[in-house]
């Protein structure tokens, strides 16, 4: 592995910026690979963005050099029916409400079949909590998708859905998880974490599992041998203290399980939600959130700038503020294309590669578990091997 170690000169510029921003002590900790405290996190939220970004970029390059990951994937949201009434959600519909839908396993699988001509490696499958769906539905959903495309990795069911699935199964989650895996579950996405603080839980998503429950389910997922991602929904009613607390709780669980692959800050989009009066994060806030994730979560390998949510320009820039992943192509099923033709997936894949290269990074296509599918520089990341992570 030949990741280039940052030269001392960059240390000096990082120190210079940190000194101007009165972050010398934090910079020394970062340069010495020491863990940051709750207070450090709070100060980073309030300090000059350029200095915070430089610190995060230092860590990013120590871990990943210039490598920047993406995958070729598709999304299936099998239902938008949900009874959790989260105030920040614009996706949910109540049963019977206009626009409410749910897919049979066959309908969900058809979306995967529609992209058989595309080099898709992952289907990301999440949805609302539809109270009427039975345990057998979830198992059949997984089986149908795997039948449609046996090679595909199914990343499905947030901790919130897993809680519901176990309830429907009337069995402990520890027993349910192996059955889901047998049916085709490959790993677990990171959504539904929102902000762990109980105050925020009560005020904005009280019908959904609490932060403690989310973490407990994640623990069980990891103990079952599954990898997952983790998230934080920022920019609504939470305080900076509650954000730092959220990151610390993720870090604490990760020390125990090492099951989180990637942290993804999710920007709150107020449009059409009950919180449409909240302005939502700016581009500068989003860049800072990426940097905070990279600096606080010293034990989570990857930080993702989810381009669909952040917008392309900000995700591209985030690769200089701590992010090493931009998520996938996320092309929705359209029409079947002949192999060899220019397909939407190929166009989107080429676009991702261009954004990454223009940001001065080395694009690498990965699968869900960070095995290298394609590398633009085999000397840095080798096809077929696991993504290299420096120390």
């Amino acid at each position: 592995m030949s990741l280039v170690a940052p030269a001392p000169r960059q240390d000096e510029r990082v120190r210079l910026l940190a000194r101007r921003a009165k972050l010398e002590d934090i910079a020394e900790k970062v340069l010495a690979h020491e863990r940051l405290s709750h207070d450090d996190g709070l100060r980073l939220y309030k300090a000059d963005l350029h200095a915070v970004g430089a610190l995060a970029n230092h860590v990013r390059e120590r871990l990943h050099g210039d490598l920047a990951y993406f995958n070729v994937n598709q999304h299936v949201n099998y239902t938008n029916i949900c009874n959790k009434l989260c105030r920040f959600c614009a996706f949910q519909r109540l049963p019977g409400q206009a626009g409410a839908y749910w897919m049979t396993p066959e309908e969900a699988a058809a979306k995967v079949t529609a992209q058989l001509g595309e080099p898709v490696t992952e289907v990301h499958m999440v949805a609302g909590i539809h109270p009427k769906l039975e345990y057998s539905y979830y198992l059949e959903l997984l089986r149908a998708v795997k039948r449609a495309r046996p090679s595909i990795h199914v990343k499905a069911f947030t901790m919130v859905e897993l809680d519901q699935i176990a309830k429907k199964a009337k069995k402990p989650l520890e027993q349910v998880l192996p059955e889901l895996v047998a049916a085709g579950l490959g790993s677990v996405p990171g959504g539904g974490a929102e902000i762990f603080a109980e105050r925020v839980h009560k005020e904005s998503y009280h019908l959904k599992i609490s932060g403690e429950q989310w973490l407990e389910i994640a623990r069980k997922v990891h103990k079952a041998g599954l990898k997952s991602n983790c998230t934080m929904l920022h920019g609504h009613i939470e305080t900076l203290e509650e954000r730092v607390d959220h990151l610390e709780r993720l870090r604490h669980l990760q020390d125990e399980t090492h099951g989180f692959q990637t942290y993804i800050p999710l920007s709150f989009h107020p449009e059409n939600s009950e919180m449409s009066h909240v302005p939502g994060p700016t581009a500068l806030d989003e860049l800072r959130e990426i940097a905070l994730g990279r600096l606080m979560l010293d034990n989570i390998p990857h930080i993702k700038a989810y381009w669909i949510l952040m917008d392309i320009p900000i995700a591209q820039l985030a690769l200089s503020y701590g992010a090493d992943d931009v998520d996938g192509t996320v092309v929705e099923e359209k029409i079947y294309h002949e192999a060899g033709a220019t397909t939407p997936q190929k166009v989107q894949r080429a676009e991702l590669i261009r954004w990454i290269e223009d940001a001065g990074r080395v694009p690498v296509e990965r699968d869900t578990l960070y095995n290298v599918v394609w590398s633009s520089d085999e000397s840095l990341a080798r096809t077929g091997e696991h993504a290299p992570v420096g120390r």
Binding site: P6, A7, H50, D66, L284, P313, L317, Y321, D358, A359
Partner: protein, 420 residues
């Protein structure tokens, strides 16, 4: 053989793609770990010490510095020039009196050949109706540009300007790009300074920087062979400044130019500014290839990372230009917020109607409120300005000079104010 959509019969167009430069971003980590690291750090220290950089040094930054460093340096310089956390903008609208043009630029989706379908020239009534709308919003400027119309000459414009001066005294005509003024000079077979003198006497208040594209002849021969040359563009702005008017400078990049040619453009602007001091501001944007006549000949639209790199470098290089504008019309409001920390201090105009860029498939138009909110939320106080970057905003006690073109004409190209 596809025929050129704009071919007028003189030089046959070559339908091969325009040669795209082979520029690619250097790996970001190499900026501080690679062979250029020491030099980049020396240049950065020089910039922070307030010293001017050379074209060769600018090229090193352009090609090898990482985006974050360019942002840090540009932000530092912005703060030195504009210590108060303010971002200005102007309530204005675009008004394109005609879209008839004989310049046939393949990157322009706005123009029409004379007598082509969709070709128009606005009547005085139509123009007044647009200005009435602008006046109702307390607008301060109308950005008026048109095509190079084969028959419309400076007298038509002088009449319009005089009319506007009388009827809309608060709306400054920020009008006529250097190529248009040069076009009049050729049509009317008289020196460009005579044309400028007449336009200024009629009421022209300031001159936009349009038509600069890239101020390098190799590039202009490819993308705008019939448009005013580099030397003429600069000469017209020099004359504009000598006549006591201020103008702005622009750059459209991300097409066929090389990195060195981007720097050369910046150098031409900086050199003229050293000479005259007449530029109020600089704005750059990436070419918007969607839907333009020669779309197939151009490379794909430059990504935001490239835009940000060049925009930050412009602040660093143009040490003698006070104001650097963001381009929210081409980059979107979110990216514009970022540019406020990458060297920009001005949001440009509200552009109630932006025909030229929006005709090229870019519809990021914003209301005044959206601009105000975007600036505020990025951590700055939004303030309205006039064409000469004087503040005209009730939120700031009193008015900050310059209030008008006469007060603005204090730069070194003119002695004793506007000579009319």
């Amino acid at each position: 053989m596809p025929s050129s959509p704009t071919g007028s019969g003189t030089a046959p167009r070559v339908d091969l793609p325009h040669p795209a430069p082979a520029w690619s971003a250097a790996r970001a980590s190499q900026a501080h770990a690679g062979p250029h690291a020491a030099e980049i750090e020396r240049i950065a220290a020089q910039v922070e010490a307030g010293e001017r950089i050379t074209p060769a040094q600018a090229l090193v930054l352009h090609d090898h510095a990482d985006l974050a460093l360019l942002g840090q340096l540009a932000d530092t310089l912005r703060q030195r020039k504009h210590p108060a956390p303010r971002v200005t903008y102007i309530v204005d609208r675009n008004l394109n009196p005609t879209n008839v043009c004989i310049t046939d630029c393949g990157f322009c989706a706005f123009y029409r050949r004379p007598k082509a379908e969709g070709a128009y020239t606005l009547s005085r009534e139509e123009i007044d109706a647009k200005l009435d709308e602008l006046a109702a919003l307390d607008g301060r400027q109308v950005l008026m540009q048109g095509g190079h119309h084969p028959y419309i000459q400076s007298d038509w414009w002088c009449e319009l300007l005089a009319h506007m001066r009388a009827k809309y005294p608060d709306i400054n005509p920020h009008a006529l790009s250097a190529p248009e003024i040069d076009h009049f000079s050729r049509l009317e077979k008289r020196p460009v300074e005579d044309v400028i003198r007449d336009l200024a006497a009629a009421g022209l208040g300031s001159v936009p920087g349009a038509g600069a594209e890239i101020l390098v002849e190799r590039v202009r021969k490819i993308i705008a062979p019939k448009k005013t040359s580099t030397e003429r563009w600069l000469a017209v702005h020099r004359k504009v400044h000598e006549a006591g008017l201020r103008s702005s400078a622009t750059m459209m990049f991300g097409h066929v130019e090389t990195a060195a040619e981007r720097i050369e453009h910046l150098e031409r602007v900086r050199a003229l500014q050293d000479e005259t001091g007449g530029f109020t501001a600089f704005a750059c944007w990436t070419m918007q290839p969607e839907g333009v006549p020669e779309e197939a000949l151009y490379p794909a639209k430059a990504t935001p990372g490239v835009y940000l790199r060049v925009q930050a470098l412009a602040r660093i290089y143009l040490d003698n230009v006070e104001n650097i504008q963001t381009s929210y019309v081409t980059q979107g409001l979110k990216m514009a917020q970022v540019t406020l920390r990458y060297g920009c201090n001005d949001f440009g105009g509200t552009m109630m109607e932006e025909n030229v860029v929006s005709a090229a498939g870019c519809f990021n138009l914003s209301s005044i409120e959206r601009i105000e909110r975007a600036i505020e939320r990025a951590g700055f106080q939004p303030l309205r300005r006039n064409s000469w970057y004087g503040i005209v905003d009730a939120r700031l006690a009193g008015h900050e000079a310059p209030r008008n073109r006469e007060e603005a004409a204090t730069h070194k190209a003119v002695a004793g104010g506007l000579a009319t």
